[in-house]
């Protein structure tokens, strides 16, 4: 045999038992906890105390739980926004900017129109204008992609910086409160979202959105078109779909939801507008969407998990003096393990000399594997 066999080969697996899939995920999570524990040890903290402090700080009392929900709301909302785009293989990296522009529009009405309409109307106008602005911000790159095939990943990414720049200018310029302070005054109470159980009603909105998005993605013609387009643009075209229209419509829907999230953050949580109103949510939500494999209900769990980690991180810094960067490392490890384990669920590793024998080995030519699926060299 002269042909060189690579040390490890990968084959796609198709039919792994559900229970085994979940076992792998559980193992990956445990592995992440162990690795994170080692990081804690290196940082000089007791891992058990650290983990239990994180849980106690985030879920042990009412203020903690409320904060977890408040952190999870924009994450879930933005993950929902990204889902249809990603299903269509349109890489919207611009949720950060769409949130920011949505928040900006809502803030415009909160600051300038507060005296001209009653509170419920004002809030509706703020929400609607935020959604329209977010849709517009996503629609621009989508239009260019649909029309001239530009790269939407770069385009949406660049739009983020423009949005953040615009708010930065407003914050230090036309909308600034005390000269030089770089602070926009707090909203009037009439422009603030009401609360239910101590958290702004954004949490109810995103839960409703989760359900609606599930229906939209799985039960509607639009959802079907998105799925087909995601599989193959040519198939979609062959099936008579208006690819440009679907692309533009889906991107605008995505941006609209992100804009709505921006409204919830500035009106519900911060009650004013800051340049970093999105605070990285637009990027973290990408991970949420992927981890949930575009399943809206799974996104609830994942965004809550991330919120617990984030709240827990600030708790251990306060109580144990563990730097926030250590918590960031641990969050990173957990995400990496969770995303990484999907690889082992989807692919099988074959080591040299351990080839699994095909069903009819005597007919297979040497050097040719008969493992199912296509092979990838590693």
């Amino acid at each position: 045999m002269t042909e060189k066999v690579p040390l490890i080969r990968l084959t796609k697996r198709e039919d792994m038992a559900k229970s085994k899939v979940w076992l792998i995920r559980l193992l990956a999570f445990l592995l992440a906890l162990v690795l994170g524990g080692l990081v804690f040890l290196i940082a000089g903290a007791n891992p058990i105390t650290a983990y239990s402090t994180m849980i106690a700080g985030s879920l042990g009392k009412a203020t903690g739980i409320r904060q977890v929900v408040k952190v999870a709301v924009p994450l879930l909302g933005t993950a929902l926004a990204l889902a249809p785009c990603f299903a269509m293989r349109f890489w919207n990296i611009g949720a950060e900017g769409q949130i920011t522009m949505g928040a900006m529009m809502a803030t415009f009405f909160a600051l300038k129109m507060v005296n001209s309409m009653p509170s419920p109307v004002l809030l509706l106008v703020m929400g609607a204008s935020a959604a329209i602005m977010g849709a517009l911000w996503a629609g621009i790159p989508a239009f260019f992609k649909a029309r001239w095939g530009t790269n939407e990943t770069l385009f949406t990414l660049m739009m983020n910086y423009i949005a953040i720049g615009i708010v930065g200018w407003l914050q230090g310029g036309p909308w600034e409160g005390k000269p030089g302070s770089q602070i926009i005054p707090m909203f009037d109470e009439r422009a603030v979202l009401p609360t239910v159980f101590g958290v702004h009603i954004g949490w109810i909105l995103v839960l409703v959105l989760t359900f609606l998005m599930y229906i939209y993605m799985t039960k509607t013609k639009h959802g079907y078109e998105i799925a087909v387009l995601g599989e193959s643009e040519n198939t979609a075209r062959y099936a008579g779909m208006d690819v440009r229209k679907v692309m533009l419509r889906t991107a605008c829907l995505s941006g609209g939801i992100a804009g709505l999230v921006g409204f919830m953050i500035c009106s519900g949580a911060d009650q004013t507008l800051y340049q970093n109103v999105a605070g990285g949510v637009g990027f973290t939500a990408i991970t949420v969407t992927w981890l949930a494999q575009l399943n809206p209900f799974a996104m609830i769990i994942i965004s809550l998990l991330l919120a617990v980690l984030s709240k827990g991180a600030s708790t251990i810094q306060t109580i144990m003096g563990v730097p926030a960067s250590i918590s960031d490392i641990i969050t990173g490890i957990i995400l990496l393990c969770m995303l990484g384990c999907e690889f082992f669920i989807n692919y099988k590793m074959i080591f040299r000399g351990h080839e699994e024998l095909p069903a009819a080995p005597e007919t297979a030519a040497p050097g040719v594997t008969a493992a199912p699926g296509k092979e990838v060299e590693a």
Partner: protein, 410 residues
């Protein structure tokens, strides 16, 4: 399936190992035996140990703890970190209050609006906005603010700078017209304007031909930007650098260019021993002690901690770097300091500066209608603009002659 059990067992072993290692480490936890019941005090910090700005507060907190312990008050500090503004600050304030803190200090300007939203729910807790001005004006009894009179320290630091410039002129290193100060500023904010104007007036008192360029960077702290701006000022002809920004890079840039420097917040003589002459800073120890002591003794905490400066030790200068300072600086500083402390020297003496060529005869101190334009309390009387007199937070925002502003958009 066997493989899986093997992996599971391995993981379990590693986990146990990690857990054991952890419990050994547990012994290192500080377990100071409390003498009497500890008074919990919270601080919401804009950054953490990595920021020079925050370290200035931790030093004061530790010093206050020590001083109060001598008085029999046992203080336990609880910090939250890295929240400059917004909802996170509200949560921090609420959690610190829930945790039993009798006072919660917010150490940055941007945190105050959020702090005020929470304070009403905890009437028994004192919420203090440091370097703020909204708390004393609101309707809540339990919100207070403080801003020591740092402009006095700035003036003194300016005196040290002016003496250096005059010495350079006398030695023939520069001509009279070349005595240009370069100042790295954060924003065109009253606190910054008041600071650099006081600094300039101090310098001018010792070097009458001195002029100043202030270049704004649009950030409270950005090491690269601060360094580049200091370099730009030097390239524009500045022969001495000072700053209102959080990092030490203006000092190192000055040293790299062979130009003297005057710092802020912390002593910068260790990073730039051949350039940095002295720094002015706020020492929060007194204020922390005052608030905590008042609460413990059941006394009312002043709504606005006003007119506490050099004389009280709330504003201090760091150690003078004799290697760089002009000869006789220490003596002159001591003399000028005495004049400031006994009130013989008014920092913003209206006979010492002009605006648009005119002497200033009137200027308002406070804004009462919320449009951010001062509209009440005449600050100019008895021949001087009275800074930090009607409220502790600086309100001097006049643009005096002799100072050129660069990049004013910030």
């Amino acid at each position: 399936m066997k493989k899986f059990i093997a992996i599971l067992l391995t993981l379990a072993m590693v986990f146990t190992f990690a857990a054991c290692g952890g419990s050994n480490g547990g012994n290192e936890e500080p377990q100071g035996e409390p003498e009497g019941e500890a008074v919990k005090v919270g601080m919401v910090c804009i950054g953490d140990d990595n920021a020079a700005y925050d370290r200035n507060f931790y030093m004061a907190a530790d010093a206050a703890k020590e001083r109060l312990a001598e008085e029999g008050i046992n203080v336990e500090w609880v910090y939250t970190y890295n929240h400059p503004e917004g909802d996170a600050v509200k949560v921090d304030c609420a959690e610190l209050a829930d945790a039993g803190c009798v006072a919660v200090f917010c150490n940055s300007y941007g945190q105050e609006p959020s702090m005020l939203k929470v304070a009403a729910e905890y009437p028994d807790v004192i919420f203090a906005g440091l370097t703020n001005e909204g708390s004393w004006k609101d309707n809540l009894e339990n919100t207070v603010n403080a801003f020591p009179s740092i402009y006095e320290g700035r003036y003194l630091a300016g005196v040290a700078a002016g003496m250096k410039l005059q010495e350079m002129i006398n030695n023939g290193e520069i001509t009279e017209d070349e005595a240009v100060i370069g100042y790295v500023g954060a924003y065109t904010f009253a606190e910054v304007i008041s600071g650099y104007t006081a600094f300039y007036l101090g310098a001018k008192a010792e070097c009458p031909t001195a002029t100043m360029m202030v270049e704004f960077i649009g950030s409270w702290g950005d090491p690269t930007m601060e360094a580049n701006t200091a370099q730009d000022l030097i390239d524009r002809g500045a022969v001495l650098i000072s700053q209102h920004s959080d990092s030490t890079t203006p000092a190192t840039t000055a040293q790299a260019n062979g130009v003297p420097h005057v710092g802020y917040n912390i002593s910068m003589s260790d990073v730039a021993p051949e350039a940095s002459i002295i720094s002015s800073r706020i020492d929060w120890t007194n204020y922390f002690c005052y608030v905590i002591r008042s609460i413990v003794n059941g006394e009312k905490v002043e709504q606005d901690y006003c007119q506490h400066g050099l004389a009280d030790g709330d504003v201090v200068l760091t150690e003078l770097n004799e290697n760089v300072a002009a000869a006789g600086t220490a003596e002159t500083l001591a003399n000028v300091r005495a004049l400031i402390e006994n009130g013989d020297l008014q920092i913003f003496d209206t006979s010492k500066f002009t605006v648009g060529g005119e002497t200033v005869t009137t200027a308002f101190a406070l804004d009462t209608d919320g449009d951010f334009v001062a509209d009440s309390e005449e600050a100019v009387f008895d021949g001087a603009f009275h800074e930090s007199y009607f409220q502790s937070a600086p309100y001097f925002a006049l643009r005096i002659d002799g100072i050129t502003l660069i990049n004013e958009a910030y």
